[in-house]
Every structure is written in C-alpha cells, then in structure tokens.
Symmetry: C2
Subunit: 533 residues, 2 copies
Amino acid sequence: MPTTRRQFLQSVGVAGGAGVMYSTMGALGLAPTAAAAPYTPPRSGDFTLAGRSAARVVVLGAGIAGLTTAYELQKAGYQVTVLEARDRPGGRNWTVRGGTRETDLKGETQHARFAEGQYLNAGPARIAQHMVTLDYCRELGVPVEVFTNVNADSYYFDEGTTPLSGTPVRHRTTKADTYGYVSELLARATDSGSLDGYLTGADKEALLSFLGGWGAIGRRVEGDPAASWKYTGTSRRGYEVLPGAGTQAGTPLGPPPSLSDVLQSNLGRNISFEFGFDQAMLMFQPVGGMDRIPYAFERAVDRRNIVYRAEVGGITNTPTGVDVTYTTRGRRRTVTADFCVCTIPPMVLKKIPTNFAPEVGTALAYAQAAPAGKIALQYDRRWWETDENIYGGITNTNMDIGTIWYPSSGYHGDRGTVVGYYNFGNNALAYGRLSHKERLSRALVQGQKVHGQKYARGIEASFSVSWENTRYSEGGWVSWPSRESAEYRRLLQPEGRTYFAGDHLSHYTSWMSGAIESARASVTALHQRALAG
Amino acid sequence: MPTTRRQFLQSVGVAGGAGVMYSTMGALGLAPTAAAAPYTPPRSGDFTLAGRSAARVVVLGAGIAGLTTAYELQKAGYQVTVLEARDRPGGRNWTVRGGTRETDLKGETQHARFAEGQYLNAGPARIAQHMVTLDYCRELGVPVEVFTNVNADSYYFDEGTTPLSGTPVRHRTTKADTYGYVSELLARATDSGSLDGYLTGADKEALLSFLGGWGAIGRRVEGDPAASWKYTGTSRRGYEVLPGAGTQAGTPLGPPPSLSDVLQSNLGRNISFEFGFDQAMLMFQPVGGMDRIPYAFERAVDRRNIVYRAEVGGITNTPTGVDVTYTTRGRRRTVTADFCVCTIPPMVLKKIPTNFAPEVGTALAYAQAAPAGKIALQYDRRWWETDENIYGGITNTNMDIGTIWYPSSGYHGDRGTVVGYYNFGNNALAYGRLSHKERLSRALVQGQKVHGQKYARGIEASFSVSWENTRYSEGGWVSWPSRESAEYRRLLQPEGRTYFAGDHLSHYTSWMSGAIESARASVTALHQRALAG
C-alpha cells in the first residue's frame, strides 16, 4: 500500500502515448494512499534478527488507537496487555443497541430498547475512501457499505426571516437555483466584457459554454443583454408532477424563487460541505454497526489480552519499565511492562496520578474537550422513505439540533432509526445539560418543523449521548488551541517508557483514521527503541 | 402512497408556527411521490361488485412492463398468462452471471464464466429514489443497496490536445478548480460593480459571502482588485501527502492548473450529470443483481402463469377477444383471451403478423431503436480500491468506451467486476459490430489510458452485450422522433382488445419506472373496460 500511488503513476506513464502529460503532478487530483513516511508494520522476525526477546507492553485503552497499537505490536510478537475501563472495546466507537445500558457523569441511566438490527453509532459514523480505516476493515474482514453522507433529496431548513425560512428545501433544489443564478450572473458579466482583463476570447467562449450546461440557463439573446443567459428553473429542481406514462411529460417544480430570495436565504452555504476532502461521497460504514471494527480487532488481538472494567489508577515510569495500577471489580492490581502506550483521553488522563514530568501535565491540561451529542429515534415505520422518498442522507438546519440523519441501511424495513440531532459546541452543551427526556422532547419539536407532526409519532425507542458527560471520554474529541504549541508537541514524545497515542495526536482529530495513524506512529517509535534496546 | 405528498404538506402546515411560509409551493423543492392521476390498483372485489367474472388476459413479454401488468391484474383476480420468448423473466432487465449463455443476432455465442457473486447488470442498473420501481422492491421484498452513481474520487479523462488531456483527474479536483475559478471571476465582477444592475447592495454582500465559502477563494484585498478573491487551490482537490499523525498536517495537491487551462480542458462539462433529476445521488440497486426484481415478480405472479420460450407468431383481435399464436419447443399453440397486453418492443413487434389497423404498423415503424452496449470485466483483485481508493462510482471519458463503472457491491472482496464500457449511439454501434474478443481488446486499450497497464491484467472473465444485436430486444430502448406525433399517441390507445405497454410508451424511456408506469396505465384502462363490460 505505501507505494501504490507511485506504482500507479509509473504504470500510467508506461501505458502508451497518452500517459501523463500535465507537467505539474499536483494538478492530477490523484489522492495519495500513502502517508509521508510509509508505515512498515513490525514483523515477526524483527526481534529474532535483533537478537532480543519480544518486549512486554501495556496498552491503556481499548479504543481504536489502543486496539491498533496492540494489533500492530503483536505482529512482532510483543506480549501485549490492554487495560480498558469499559466492559467493551471501541471507546468512542460505540454502537448502542437494544440492551445497552449506560450511566452518564450526571448520574442518569439510559437503557436502550432498540429492536433487533436497529442501532446508533454514537461516536464515529463515516469513513472516507482514502482513510486507513478502510484498510483495516479489509485486513480484519469487516464488510462495509455506503454511508449516505449526501443526498440530493434531503433538505436544507432554516428558521429565520428570509424568504425561504421555515421551508424545507431539497438539496437538489437549492443547488439548481444557486447554480442557475451564479451562471446567469457570471455569463452576463463575461458576455458584457467586464472580465476581459481576466479572460481571453477563447476562455470566454469556453466559460459561456460551460455555464450554459452547468447552470441550465438560457442562451444569449442578441441585442438584449437583460434577456440573455436567464435562469428560469430546471427539472434538476424536482417535479411537481413526475414524468410518467403516455403523454405525462411531467411538470417541473417552479418557478424558482427570485435571485434575491435565493441569495438572501443563504441556504447555498450548506452546499460546500459535500466538497470536503473528508466528507465528499462516496463514504462508508461497516455493515451492522461501527463497532464491528473494534470487535474485529478484539478477535484479532485475542480477548484474553484485554482486561475489561480495568480502571487505571496510576502510571509510574521506572528505570526499566512501567508500572500501571488499576482497579477491576473492586480489586487493585498492578501490571508491569517494558513499555506503556497510553491512549486515555487527556481530559481523563490528567486526573490520574503519574510520575510524569510537569510539562506532560501542562500539555494534558492544554487539550480542550470538544462537546458533541447525538440522539437516535427508532420509528415504527420508515416514513422518510415511504412519504418523502428520502433513502438516507442528512438534512441540515440552523436549529440547535444541527442535522437529522436518515439511516444508511435497512432500506424498506419495518422500522428504522433516525439520528435526531448531531451537534457540537454550544448546541451540544445545551443538550448535554438536559435529561434524556428533555433532549427527546426538544429534538422532536425541531424535527417537526422540517417533517411535520409525524416526526413525533411512532417512536419506539430513543437513546442520546452527550460525550462531554460520558464517563471515560469526557468529550467528543480534543480541540487544540494550536498544534504548533509546545504542549501538543510534548505529547508526541514518550514520557520515559510511556508513549501517547490517539486521534487527538493527529491531524485527523475525531476520525478513527487519526487514532490509527497516531497508534502507528507510536508503534513505530516504540518498536525502534525496543529493537535498539 | 398517492396522497402522501399532500398529507405531508398538510402536516407541515399544521405543525406549529414555522410551517410553510413561502407562497409558491413549487419553490419548496418537494419532489412528489405521486403521478398526475394517482394509481389505484385493481382490487379483489372489483368484479364481484360489478357482477361480472374476472376476465382472461394474455400478456406478451415477461419484462418489467409485462410482469407489472400480470401482477397488478392478478390483484383483481384476472386469469393471466404471460408468454415470454426468452427462458427467463426480465427482458432487458438481465443480470449476466456465471453460466449465462447467449447467442446474438450476428450468430456469436458468449458463455459467461463469472465467479460466484460476480455479475453484470446488462440492462438497467440504477434506480432513483423517486421512482416507482423502489415501491415495487418494497412490495415484493427485494432488498436494495446504494448504487454508486457519483464518486468524488473517480476520474474525468479526455483524449485531445488541451492542457489536461491524457490525464485522469479526480472528480473532486475538477469540481474544486472549476468552482474556485467561477467564484473568483464572479466575485470580481460583483465587487467591481459590473452587476449592479442585477444585484442590490445586500445581494452583493450575500453573494460574495457565498462565493467565498463555496469556491474556497481568498478575500477582498482593499485597493488591489487583481489580488482579490483569488483561487489558489484548496484541500478539496485532494492531498499530495495526507494529514496524519503528530505534526503531519498534510500537503494539499497543488498548485491548480491555470484558469485558462481549466476552462480549455472542458472537463467541467461532466459535472452537471450529477444534478440530473434521474441521476442525482442517492441511487439504488437490488442486492445481488437487478434481476432480483423480475424473479420476485415471477414468484408473485406464479411461475406457472408464465410460458417461457414462447415466441409469438401472430396476434389476432376477434370480436370477443384476442388470439395469440406462439411457438414453444417447436410446437405451435394458440392462446385465446378476453384481452391482450403487448409489451413486445416495436422493433420486434412490427415483424409479427397481426390484424392490427395500418396506423398501428406505421406507429411501430416510427419507433427508432437506440443502440447501447456494455462490457463486464471480472478482475482477480479490486485494484481500483486497493491502489486508487475508488470504492464504486463512474469514470467519464471522451473515448468511445464512454464510461467505466466500478462495482457498487462486494467491497474488499477477492475479486470484482468493472463495467469497461457503457455507451450508446454511434459508439455503441461501433462496438456492436465487433466480436466480443475485439470489443474486449478495444475496451482494454482505452481503459489503460486511464488506469495504466494493470487494467489489462488479471481479467478472469468478460461478457459484452450489444442491445441492438440482442434477440427479442433489437435495441437498448426506443427513441421517438416526437412524442407529440400521431404515431406515438396511437400506441397509447388499444387496438381492438390489445393494449400496448412498455417503457417506450412513457416519458421514462429506458428506465424500469417507465415500464411500470406504462403498465399501470394499460392495466387501469383495461380494467375499467372489463368492469364496464
């Protein structure tokens, strides 16, 4: 994998005359599969070749970073023990199913009553194609399916006082109208000569040709600039009456709102979400729940190497190793290892007694917990499919629910589970302060504004998570004031024989790929040191 | 279903103050689920209530139109016999699997040797969310999954002499560069006052704000218009080095090609495909192959009511019914029924002896066969996933292969099947004239220009279809010179006791939904007549 992009470019270059003609390779748009320094997993023969015996490592946390660490180290024969405070693997990679019981830091207990096959991915929920996470799904045999991150038929919905406020508008309609008017305006400016300082005659012709098709606008009307290049609507917006049998040609929705109404509505601001390198479709999820990944790791690592319900009470670097004390089922124990890899979130770790240098404590305190929350609503029928033709995707709002997610699996089933909010920042804090019942009520009031009264009907089960109120996490992820800081960089270095890892120590914070990349970096550093002795 | 849109609008209107505020409902972007005249299926009590006995109907063709007809008529107790020339249901809805054997009209026989689970949807391959086809999948219990019609990580590739010719460019990169420069130009024109005749001051501010985010361009530089609103690239294009662990912030691909190079490349012309009402994501396919739909219909209709290998030799309207003669396994038979619904394609039907009025023959001859072809390539590894991070989607080219489709299922499997071309018009005719071996060779030469030498390696099986050369179809679909013509409209009327149906008699030609809608229209007309006696 590390060299495949290079191999690909070579193969293209060799494949006949057409090949790669553009001089700047960066213009290719060929997303690399490789990290800067290709990752080389530890190998079973490494210790033999080095004339040493495999080291013993204690890994703190069975989230994605901890599990990756254990899995990769075992490839070279390390004896790995993973201590995990929870009774399951995954950490924030947590799929809530029927039977899940959780007591939050405020003392409220929720008991999920989802039906068989219904679930909430309470933490990470999507994987981009370029992410190393998919490579682990392949390696560990976790089947994946499309995660429906973007859907032309889901809505944008804003409360407010603009002409389109209070109205759910399909993504496709906003896009058609926005692009139609952008085309109309740019075509007029181009054709009037306003941009002649930037465009050659040939460029102008190419641009006008592009805008005509892309914006679905009218043509130039000779001698009448105001009538030229007009956007008057398009079937891309949708149909009032669908095309059908016989003479039913279909009646496109229309006419579109005015240019001013479209601009003032500001709904177009939402469109660029789907261009994001991390968020652009196609995206993926494991079939059956995100926790299929940690459970596959658990099988690969061997469950006997993981101690669940092990709450770490202290970490002590010694001259020859690390002592970690933990409490499990009321008993205090200590594990001693040659090295430690600690993936406990900074917000939690900073409260655990250690003999780390003061700068480490300063660095841990520098990490800011990012609040985040979700609620899952299990309905007794899939009304978004049957009534609104929405098969997955996300509705974006300016309300404090943030978004509504329609499920990416179980299409046409008897029931389905919607994410009724996924929010962060102050919105998450606001919901986090509420009881589950209050969260549910608030989410339903807002969802009804988009979907009508049925949104509050037929709810069979619900479950909400507030990550900043979740024991052992205390945040959705870490927000760093700066990654250029001495504090952030301090945690990239080991403290004695203890290494740190987690998505917070990567440029992919809140993504599983960040946890994996960070774990690989720590594994590489630890392994080099272990081999060097 | 027919009234759900109305119900939805009512429910929104009732749901509190926000509700529907925009006066023009057409602006909502609420795609309807209903046809102009809601479809009411025949019911089991209809004949009882009318005091008549259920009529007997012979349906010609077990494609989607014929199967829908039989299925819907049976709901009211009609005795239906379906005559199908092939030995399978589905017609052009044809999933080629290992073991499929087909001899084309040129006399060449292909024997598909795909592995278990590998297949080609030789005909229809995608279903949009608004299409009635999905309702039948629900009703018939056919599981569906996402069809990956658009992928930011697949390519645009043009041969030619423009600066980007001969270079595969990711969709995401073309989009980022096109939108970046469109934003830059429009922001300049707006800010310079060139569009003041069309934009208020508030509109200008809203537009500039939108363009900044949507195009990922720079801000206004006071006093320096040429330095303002510049597009200089964005991580949306992709990364040269991915974001990763520790200090690896990632290196975005760059710099982008010049404005002129982007415009002259004309790659942006491809973008609007994904806005199409029929083509916008999300789209769907049955799990396991498109033919799961006809086989589900076959079960619902009862296979004993379908006569396979029944080649129709004549259709005769009589004063009291219809006589259809057919040949099956060398024997000539006649079936007599009260009514006939004929779904045989015009190109085939026009050669079958009938006692239809001359205008019907004229109408059938008016239908033009649209050529279309596909080739499937089964590879021994999924190099598009492992080497290029492409998990489904379509690469668009200006070569005569048209497009390359990566599979929408079986992710991370040992092998996978790519559609090496899907083309129509003259490109399809050109491939149709070739032998399968020649088609394969030509497709591989072109595919290598996009993907390099590996494209020609590891091919375990292949199969091509040329619809104009396929017996019983003789075309991919029908192209009408005009649907306003007397000829088209003639076929919407029954000829004696024979009704016509098929996607060609709808405004959704080439889509299964057109076949279904047309069948429903004929069922409705026939049923009203049967009840009226």
